[in-house]
């Protein structure tokens, strides 16, 4: 049994966006998904999320300046 990194306190919460959320976010920033920062499919933090290339991951980070901040990454093959 290996350690589950998503349980570690330094790993922020990763969630997969649904299709409607995805298009909403892309519309909000008015860009193609590939202009987003990337995350690889084999990234340990999203292993359990059942992702495929092109999905968008939302990351809720604890922020010193803003409390909780939202960040997005697009999944790429890796």
């Amino acid at each position: 049994m290996t350690f589950d990194v998503t349980k570690h306190h330094l790993v922020p919460k990763h969630t997969k966006l649904g299709e409607s959320e995805k298009s909403k976010i892309l519309g909000k920033y008015g860009v193609e998904a590939l202009s987003f920062p990337k995350i690889m499919t084999d990234d340990p933090a999203i292993k359990k999320l059942d992702v495929k290339s092109g999905d968008i991951i939302r990351i809720d980070r604890q922020s010193k300046t803003a409390g909780v901040s939202e960040y997005y990454r697009v999944v790429v093959e890796g």
């Binding site: 920033y29 202009s35 987003f36 300046t65 803003a66 901040s69």
Partner: protein, 856 residues
Amino acid sequence: MVTNVHKKIENISFGLFSPKQVTGMASAKIVTPELYDKEGYPVDGGLMDIRLGVIDPGLRCKTCGQKLKECPGHFGYIELARPAIHILFVRQIYNMLRSTCKYCGHVLVPAVNLKKYLTNLDKISEEEGFEARRRKVKDIVDKHKIKDKCPHCEKKLDIIKLEKPYNFYEGEIRITPIEVRARLEKIPEEDLVMFGYAKGFRPEWMILTVLQIPPVTMRPSITLESGERSEDDLTHKLGDIVRINQRLFENINAGAPEVIIEDLWDLLQYHVTTFFDNEVAQLPPARHRSGQPLKTLTDRIKSKEGRIRHNMAGKRTDFSARTVISPDPLIEMNEVGVPQVMARTLTIPVRVTEWNKEYLKKFIENGPKKYPGANYIIKIDGRRKTITAETKDEILAELEVGYIVERHLQDGDICIFNRQPSLHRMSMMCHRVKILPGNTFRLNPAVCAPYNADFDGDEMNLHVPQNEEARAEARILMSVETQLISPRYGLSVVGCIHDAITGNYLLTKELVLSRVEALDLLYASGVDDLSALPHKEKVDGKEVFSALLPIDFNYIGKDKAGNEVKIVNGQLKTGNMDQASLGHEKGLMLRNIYERYGETFTADLLGKISKLGCTVLARRGFSMGIGDLDLTPEAKAEIQETINKAEKDALSLIDAYYAHELEPLPGRSLLETLELRILEALNKARNKTGDIAVKQVKDSAAVVMAKCGARGNPLNIAQMTAVVGQQALRGKRIERGYNGRTLPYFKKNDLAPKARGFVRNNFKSGLTPYEFFFGAMTGRDALMDTALRTPKSGYLYRRLSNAMQDLKVEYDGSVRDASGRVVQFMYGEDGLDVSKTKNGVLDVKSIIHDVMGGAK
């Protein structure tokens, strides 16, 4: 982005000129070493032939028919009597000779492998690019040098050696350039690919049979005052080549002995070589008669003074100036003092109109020497005329609307002031010119902080924008006033320093002035509305200071000592003005004024406050002497006692250590525990003595300055009056030096405070020799540390700023790079503009308070 592209570069290929191309593009064949005839006219077929371009005014180019400056120059050529090797291709020639057969010309790669290599090469260049291909080519060539026999024609081959710089030997026999050329000619085109050369290139072009003569326009001669002509180094070199070439021709035609011809040939090779590169190893550089080496082609291009680093990468700019800076607290913050001598060289173009014609005429009348004057006029057709005593009257007469007068720099002109390293945007700010006597730039000490300048010899640069648009842009975006708040931490980057702080501190703390004195003081600080001063016989310092503040200003903060500073309706009620209110990076009161009253007002107020402080100090008098550090005998005794006790404590700790009675601290060894506890005991003692000392010298200038944050701190005072204290290297007591001890003065393994760098004297009483030595040790360590750290952090910052230079906050608050990729979805995660905050925090409470109309 779509723009009109007429021609688009698809690729660039590098190669050599073939002899045919050289003769084809040449506009003259050079046959004689003579330059000019008796009349001083360029000789036809000479090196200064006017078919190669013109450098004399009045003459027309025979090739293109254009005049001086219009004609770009044209190449010529000379035919070499015997071929010469091009020095820059010796390496390539050597590689080819070594890897080909001299009989059949094929590469020494067995036919079976050839195909394999070629497909492999193509694959590499496609996958990894040209650089990888080039490396592979080098590997293959190295692998298949001459070993024994040619794999194609089975003939025996000898090993070829290169005798630097350009002689080839096969065994013991020298291969002449003619022979080398013949061998290169034999190499079939298909095999050249193995060496990485493109189609259409022939290796024999690397052996020169004709030499291209550069146009005269790139080697102009200079006419000296005596009327004598001085030729360019390149012309000299070419002259040598032509002369030797001539002699070689004659000797060959006359059937001279082979030895003589060989000698001349070698000489020709030498001259051709040094024409390209005058710094070839093993070859003596060609020299002038004076003994200084000639500057030939490679010298023009390479190194720091070469074309690339000097002219292309490092450009100089007009209308700029540089000199030493010095302080002037009397000029405004947004001004810069410019020496008059500079103002007479730096100019601003002003277009003549009906309305300013008479005004501009005055400048022309003054001419270039008398300030304020003018140096040039530009006529409507764009021609430029120098104003001199002789041309002055003529210019005055012809001056009309539409002309441009380049007048001297004047008070109030806009300029950009800069100090390197320009690490942030406050390193280049827009100032107004103030013409002053002397030879240095003058700046208000308040703006030292953003430039990170001091006056120990610093130099700064000044640039004068030349048109309205540039001036407007500089003024609106770069003015000192607009740069008051740092975008890094949201506090003021400028503020009062040194005397200005001390003065205001003393004024608001203890001064009581007569009304006349107060009025005089305010007026001297640039206050013209004196009605704010209360009508009383005796005026308190706080009231004098309050006269500067706006009547509706409210502020509650803390001063440096932690007492409350309260300003109600523009009146300073409690607290003293010090660094915490006025200083840069701290000045919270300034920050609040900026928020309420805007940049121009703040800059103006800061100037007044600063001047007030300096004036107060000048009138009251403020000086520091050795007497400031005197202590009463009781205090001295107390300090001595404290130190003695601490030393005794330390010694007893050491005794306990040797007696194995010391309790180790958790996670520490016994020795570490001892060190820590000794350090603790000594530091405690120093702090205690420091307190005693500062209390004793309460009202001295040193303490006043330390208290208000103008300069120095209590530790400095304690070190001067009480005890210097423990010297530390890398966070430990000093333990280096000799075997088991720091200096031979001490016994081995002595752990006592004084043997390990504790300085029990103070700077006033003086240090013992060993104490001084300890001080020197830490002093040098600190010096080395800063000397090594500065370039390191500088490079770190440079890489960081280069990597992030085109990141930009978009209107939706996201941060994106130049190609539109998102870097942050919300700038800084909170989307705050730091320069609109106070130290990165938005004070919502005070905003609400303001919005509600200041209600309680």
